[in-house]
């Protein structure tokens, strides 16, 4: 089932990329520093454990015409605020996006999240299809963006497959006039469930970013 959905998504994505071959040429890029404030809820058979903390990282994208490649990387630590449990959290995501029409964007890419605790590492990898909208609320000054993602495949390092995964991210970017600088704030939540409902992780985080873009 997951393989078929993945294939369908890849075909649809390929069609969109091909459609962009005639799109107008326009080059752009952006680099930003990120600070995340994640809150992770591990739900194992109904027992919920919540860990929160801080992560830092970088994000970047390169855009040519209406095709964009981007990614982000964050790492830090989370704990349960007093119960004595702590984990290192490492998260990375990449995506290839196309913008068939403004303000719509459609993309596809992997997201990986690792929990490191006591020498052991638990890694979750999902392949996500994404649909987003981004518009200027004030031209060239304030922009909002919202993106919904749906996992079409993936696995957990213990061998389990991903049964379902979904997420949403939205935020605001403020550009400093006459400079390439921008400041941003975003909120993201995603929930991933393993086959057999053995485990479900919900990761919620606020992100602050400062960067440059052209």
């Amino acid at each position: 089932m997951i393989v078929r959905r993945t294939a369908l998504a890849l075909v649809a994505f390929g069609v969109l990329v091909a459609a962009e071959a005639n799109a107008q040429s326009r080059f752009g890029f952006g680099v930003s520093g990120l600070i995340g404030f994640p809150s992770v809820q591990h739900d194992v058979g109904g027992a919920v454990e919540t860990l929160s903390g801080t992560t830092v990282g970088v994000g970047a994208y390169v855009r040519f015409a209406s095709v964009e490649v981007g990614g982000r990387y964050l790492q830090g630590s989370i704990d349960d605020a007093g119960a004595g449990r702590a984990q290192d959290l490492v998260e990375g995501a990449a995506a290839l996006l196309v913008r068939p029409v403004r303000p719509l964007s459609i993309g596809f890419g992997p997201r990986a999240r690792s929990y490191v605790e006591g020498g052991g590492t638990e890694r979750w990898v999902t392949w996500e299809a994404r649909v987003g909208l981004d518009t200027w609320l004030f031209p060239r000054v304030l922009r909002s963006a919202i993106e919904v993602s749906l996992a079409v495949g993936g696995s957990e390092s213990g061998g389990a497959s991903i049964a379902a995964g979904k997420g949403v991210e939205a935020g605001l970017d403020l550009r400093i006039p006459r400079t390439p600088l921008f400041l941003g704030v975003a909120y993201r939540v995603d929930q991933v469930r393993l086959d057999g409902d053995t485990r479900q992780d919900t990761v919620e985080q606020f992100l602050l970013r400062v960067g440059i873009s052209r």
């Binding site: 739900d43 303000p103 909208l133 518009t135 935020g171 605001l172 919900t202 606020f206």
Partner: protein, 350 residues
């Protein structure tokens, strides 16, 4: 009874005119007779009286030159060298190239005259009253006649005294033709204004001794130039659609705000999520609403923008063509120069 005295007065007035006109010339003739009779004092007096006559009865140039020649000779024979030199100098100033007749005057007198002529640095400027030519052609050709070999500087000066063009600097023998093409020192046609043709005579040490100034009233008739093409706004298509509210901002704000508020709860309904997202959702919504009401402007119309750019390129090409044509026409200025009476200033007497 009354007609007789009136006619007598009229006849007397009419008769007096030719009598007075003949007086200056007759005085010269009588002076020459006295000179030939060796009545040198009487001759000198008659010549001076003839030269002193002014107005319409005054001597013409030839008569003045004749009177001054005999006056100088009479004073020479009377032993008054200074008066002789003064008379001969007046001859040179009147006519730099004048020669005393060797058959009339003895060699020692003609030799003294030649010496005065050599020591008096004088240049006469000969020009027609009006000169017309096209700027760039050497159509202004003043003839310079010099009394003797010496250095001169010929310029065309503006009314403020600055030099518009240096025409000649060097030695003149007995005559010289200088050329002016109506251009200033930078090669541009001079504008309409009053100028001065200035001829400065210098002594062997290079010091100016005499300046002749000839007023020139220059009228520059510039040819008609083509008007610059105008690209009227009415010739251009609108590059944006009619002004409209920024609907995109409203949609983006509402979508972002509602999405932030609602979607997390739907996606993770069984999880306890942070209420902090509602602050961000409210910010996005409010920003979108404000953007909707404050930002106006239509959508860009790319086809019209491209058409207008093509129109502007044609206009710019037309503008360049007109500018080149006008630059070419501006070089074809017709000049009309009205020449005034020359005036000389003596700076130093030898």
């Amino acid at each position: 009874m009354r007609l007789v005295p009136l006619s007598v007065v009229a006849l007397a007035v009419l008769a007096a005119q030719p009598a007075r006109a003949q007086t200056a010339a007759q005085l010269v003739d009588r002076g020459v007779e006295a000179y030939q009779d060796l009545d040198l004092g009487g001759a000198a007096g008659l010549f001076r009286r003839a030269l002193a006559v002014t107005g319409t009865d005054s001597l013409v140039l030839a008569g003045r030159l004749r009177a001054l020649g005999y006056l100088g000779a009479a004073e020479f024979l009377r032993g008054d060298r200074d008066s002789t030199v003064a008379a001969f100098r007046r001859i040179v100033l009147l006519s730099p190239r004048h020669r005393l007749d060797d058959l009339v005057f003895p060699p020692d007198i003609t030799a003294l005259y030649a010496e005065v002529q050599r020591d008096t640095k004088v240049v006469h400027v000969a020009l027609p009253p009006i000169v017309r030519f096209r700027a760039g052609d050497a159509g202004f050709r003043p003839q310079l006649l010099a009394s003797s070999f010496h250095q001169i500087v010929v310029t065309v000066d503006r009314s403020d005294g600055t030099t518009a063009r240096l025409l000649f600097q060097g030695l003149i023998g007995d005559s010289l033709e200088v050329l002016w093409d109506g251009l200033d020192g930078l090669g541009a046609p001079v504008p309409s204004a009053r100028y001065v043709l200035r001829v400065e005579s210098r002594d062997p040490a290079g010091e100016p001794v005499r300046i002749v100034r000839v007023p020139l009233d220059v009228r520059a008739a510039e040819p008609d130039t083509l008007p610059h093409p105008i690209l009227a706004d009415s010739a251009l298509l609108p590059e944006r659609s009619p002004e409209e509210r920024n609907v995109q901002a409203l949609i983006g704000g509402l979508a972002g705000g509602i999405g932030l508020a609602v979607l997390p709860s739907l996606l993770a309904s069984d999880s306890e999520l942070s209420p902090g997202r509602f602050v961000l959702a409210g910010s996005v919504t409010v920003a979108g609403v404000i953007g909707f009401f404050t930002q106006r402007g239509g959508r860009p119309l790319p086809a019209n923008v491209a058409a207008n750019e093509a129109q502007r390129q044609l206009w710019r090409a037309d503008l360049d063509r007109v500018a080149q044509e006008n630059a070419r026409r501006r070089t074809q200025v017709e000049l009309s120069i009205q020449v005034g009476a020359a005036a000389a200033v003596e700076l130093q007497r030898p």
